[in-house]
Amino acid sequence: MSMRHPQLNQHGELQHLLSLEGLPKAHLLNILDTAERFFDEAGGIRKLPLLRGISVFNLFFENSTRTRTTFEIAAKRLSADVLNLNINASSQSKGESLLDTVANLSAMQADMFVVRHAASGAPTLIAKHLAPHQHVINAGDGRHAHPTQGLLDLFTIRRVKKTFHELTVAIVGDVLHSRVARSQIHGLTTLGVPELRVIAPKTLTPEGIERLGVKVYHDMREGLKNVDVVLMLRLQNERMQGALLPSSQEYYKQFGLTPDKLALAKANAIVLHPGPMNRGVEIDSAVADGGQSYILPQVTNGIAIRMAVMAILGGGKI
């Protein structure tokens, strides 16, 4: 008997969302299907009474306006009470430990924590110290995982391409530092994508990533040939400071998604980006704003996905 997955309770139901790694396919599909149900006929997102009386605490130890905002909108669309805590500016600077902070917030009747932290594993640590009725959603931890971003990418792909079984998907950029890439790889693999490529400079390719079942390319033109989906990653400016990359111009030349490079992919290929975009560094404006870009629908889809995760976690299991 293997050890129980830390995200599932003893009945095999989702208790926390920490990572897409090891999350069974049925759970992934249930989240995607649930997200689909939040759209009304006009493509808008519904307001529902589901989480009335439930308190969602957005616990952001690291800044991210967009992710925090979409979680907040998602919780409010489900009628939850939302509290935004920017921990950088408060208790941590006074020396309070992570678990003491969480214990205090639990005493304030928090039901759900949305956690963003620079340290990999922080959401998992919090999850281990909560009562059975409380839940953690990982909103990005270190280089480890960003499961809701991975889910919204899966969701966006499925809404356009309908199925995963015939797709060739390329992940392009700073894979080494990217928690988004890890979540994408685990999710796409679980859902049966037959060919998954990683396109990155050698200095930004994690060693041994082939073991996850991906093909590695250092030549973007080679890697984009005949792909159905291009998942761009954000190039974090701070990477330019070190010795990992020569310059942003050089990076753009080799790994920036330009219309001529995109033309090597299939004619109906779609382009996704988790934002915020660095135009002229990893992506050309003509691509970002072009007909193959699903970057803005991704943002709306992110609300539906986060609602789905909260709705699944918030019900039952009392």
Partner: protein
């Protein structure tokens, strides 16, 4: 779950097609001509869809998926729906006359959830209720305006409406998960 109950056996259950004709007849006689039909997923939605075709004045037809409005969400969780049921109301609820359709009326909690949902879309002028079977056991003060059959069923037994590929309705029983 999903095991067939021994009492009452499915072959002694009323004929769902005959019940449908009875309900259709009642609506032909009594349904306000400008009313819209709204079926509760899944059985009620099938019935409403077919009623909309069979009624001469061809009312507009919508459906509601009440799982986001159920009052047992906090204990039972969200129902896992792979069948992609969705609320679809292709008309303005505000000021509308609505006939809500369900297959089996029991506690009334689904009807409560459906009415709550409808009010999130607007303020209807009037809501009436049409059901195939009223099996009693009400926990909320609802009574159907149109009902093909009153029938007592043991509380541990669920009455389930099915629709085959030809669109034919049948009834069977299942043991209710306790």
């Amino acid at each position: 779950m999903n095991a067939t109950s021994t009492a009452p056996p499915s072959d002694l259950l009323p004929n769902a097609e005959q019940l449908y004709q009875t309900l259709l007849g009642q609506l032909k006689a009594g349904m306000t001509r400008h009313a819209h039909l709204v079926g509760i997923h899944s059985g009620g939605a099938w019935l409403a869809e077919r009623l909309a075709r069979d009624l001469a004045h061809q009312p507009q037809c919508g459906s509601v998926d009440v799982s986001f409005y159920r009052d047992d969400y906090k204990t039972a969780g969200l129902k896992n729906t792979r069948n992609k049921e969705r609320s679809e109301l292709p008309f303005a609820v505000e000021g509308a006359h609505i006939v809500l359709v369900d297959d089996v009326l029991n506690t009334g909690r689904s009807v409560r959830a459906a009415i709550n949902e409808l009010f999130d879309f607007g303020r209807p002028a009037c809501i009436e209720l049409a059901v195939l079977i009223d099996r009693g056991g009400r926990e909320l003060p609802f009574a159907p305006n149109f009902c093909a059959l009153d029938m007592m069923v043991q509380s541990d037994t669920a009455l389930v409406l099915s629709r085959d590929t030809q669109g034919t309705f049948t009834l069977h029983t299942e043991v209710r998960p306790s």
